[in-house]
Amino acid sequence: MDAALPLTASAQAAISRGEAAFQAARRQRRQATLVYGALLLACLLVAAWMSEMTPQALAAGLPRIGEYFWRILPTLRWEVLFADWETEGSLAGWFYRLDKWAWLIFETSQMALLGTFLGTLIAFALSFAAARNLAPTSWSFHLTRRLLEFLRTVPEIVFALIFVWAFGIGPLAGILAIILHTAGANGKLFAEVVENAETSAMEGVRAAGGNWFHRVRFGVLPQVAPNFLSYALLRFEINVRGASVLGFVGAGGIGEELYHVISFNYYEEISAIIVLIILSVAAIDMVSERLRRQLSAGAVRG
């Protein structure tokens, strides 16, 4: 086994042959790494240069971020912290419009819920045609892939602008924008999950004479369902964050209020709304994390 053990001549030959092949393969790999690494580095440098991301610019701007945060901090006074909302320096005074903001944040999360659900349904319907291993024909594969690309590359806020123009100001425009973006983003993720699925079950259904829908339903879906659900929950969290800025263009939710206080420099109100958004997103994160863990535990059991 070890170098101490006398090796036969044929073993020696096998070792040197193997070592030579290994060295050749490694040389090739290293060359490829070098070439592509240099290419990547060049791209990154061009990107940094184009976007003016220089160490100097960072050093100049960073303190100003701190300054902004300092400004939006509320001036709370310890002795009147729990006084009523009319008192300067109390918590209630900081969140003096809590009732309105809470309602708006609730509206935001409802937009996210509806948008995520309907968008995920569309993603589900399209993902099987967009998976290379399941697409019925090559043109349907390319068509759905390009459609999904379009849906997720157009920024949500642009969709929201178009829908506000068409349907008027309000949450409906925001929900539609979320639906389209969710369909595009989840559709791609779902398709990739399907592409990674084991093919043996699919083959089994096919050999039993099943059609395309049978293969999807019985060969693929049971395997991929836990991953689909987990991605859908993740998208819900992302959409709550996303929905809270859609109001900037009049598409409903807390965003409109946020935009208003930011542009009028109502510093304390900015921090109050941000705190509320963070709290609600954290709450949703915790709930869906729990759900996800239960789902994946169920997947292992099942």
Partner: protein
């Protein structure tokens, strides 16, 4: 000398292994046979502590294995290599790297870990791996991905990986249950070669009585977590099998086969990394 003293494992209300006491001298090749749920796998997995015993002791060379922790436990696992029914190779890595996995715990210190994470193995380690592969006619596939090999080849790669651990014991959990007869023979031959030429103690779970009789020095028969027979292949006659299990030898093999099939659950599909938008 490997000693098991009153080794017991309970899963809830079920006692999978019940007070097993065995003494296995160095260099022996032992076959463990039994039906579905007899506790063969659990017994083997308690020896390298992939499964923790509920009670009892494992002792090797006077050291209490059941008390080891941390780095000591990992060193023990290096000393008693394991062969799995499903080979447990890294399918997407090449054969050579798979075999070199056996060296991981032989690289001391932080730098040893860092260099192995970068797959920086020495020429001497590669020579060891290639020599092991050559022994089982696998040197020519060293740079292929593991998933391009047949089951029999993969299991022999797994034996090479085990050999690179420079173990004193080898635990084989149904090593040939997923293989066709011809490949099963090459793998059993390889295990016997390891036992005879390298003097490594081999403990293997088997479901074919004839395979156990043909290859092993000693056979241990288990039933419902207990050892019912412990002796030479010659002593395990058909009559004895019927006496222990209450069925003929053919019926026993059918039932043991069921145990193997239920153990061969497909691995859970991996979740692709959750990509964030």
């Amino acid at each position: 000398m490997l000693e098991l003293r009153g080794l017991t494992r309970r899963f809830g209300a079920v006692t999978a292994v019940n007070e097993v006491t065995l003494a296995i001298p160095d260099g022996q090749m032992v076959g463990v046979i039994g039906r579905s749920g007899a506790g063969k796998s659990t017994l083997l997995r308690m020896i390298n502590r992939l499964t923790e015993p509920s009670a009892g002791q494992v002792i090797y060379g006077g050291r209490e294995i059941t008390a080891l922790r941390g780095a000591e436990l990992r060193r023990w696992r290096t000393d008693c290599a394991m062969i799995f029914q499903q080979f447990n190779l890294v399918q997407r890595l090449d054969v050579l790297t798979n075999v070199l996995v056996g060296r991981l715990n032989h690289r001391p210190g932080v730098m040893g870990t860092v260099t192995s994470l970068l797959k920086m193995f020495t020429a001497r380690e590669r020579a060891m791996a290639l020599a092991a592969l050559d022994r089982f006619d696998l040197a020519e596939v060293a740079l292929q991905r593991a998933d391009t090999l047949s089951g029999g080849q993969q299991q022999r790669v797994a034996i090479c990986r085990a050999l690179l651990q420079e173990p004193r014991l080898m635990l084989a959990d149904e090593p040939i249950a997923s293989l066709d007869p011809r490949n099963a023979k090459t793998v059993m031959d390889a295990l016997r070669q390891v036992n005879r030429e390298d003097g490594i103690t081999v403990l293997t779970n088997l479901h074919h009585l004839n395979t156990a009789r043909q290859y092993c020095d000693r056979i241990v028969a288990m039933q419902a977590g207990r050892v019912m027979f412990d002796g030479t292949p010659a002593e395990l006659t058909s009559a004895r099998v019927q006496e222990i299990y209450g069925v003929t030898e053919d019926e026993f093999e059918v039932q043991a086969q069921e145990a193997v099939n239920s153990a061969a659950r497909p691995a859970p599909t991996t979740t692709p990394g959750l990509a964030l938008a």
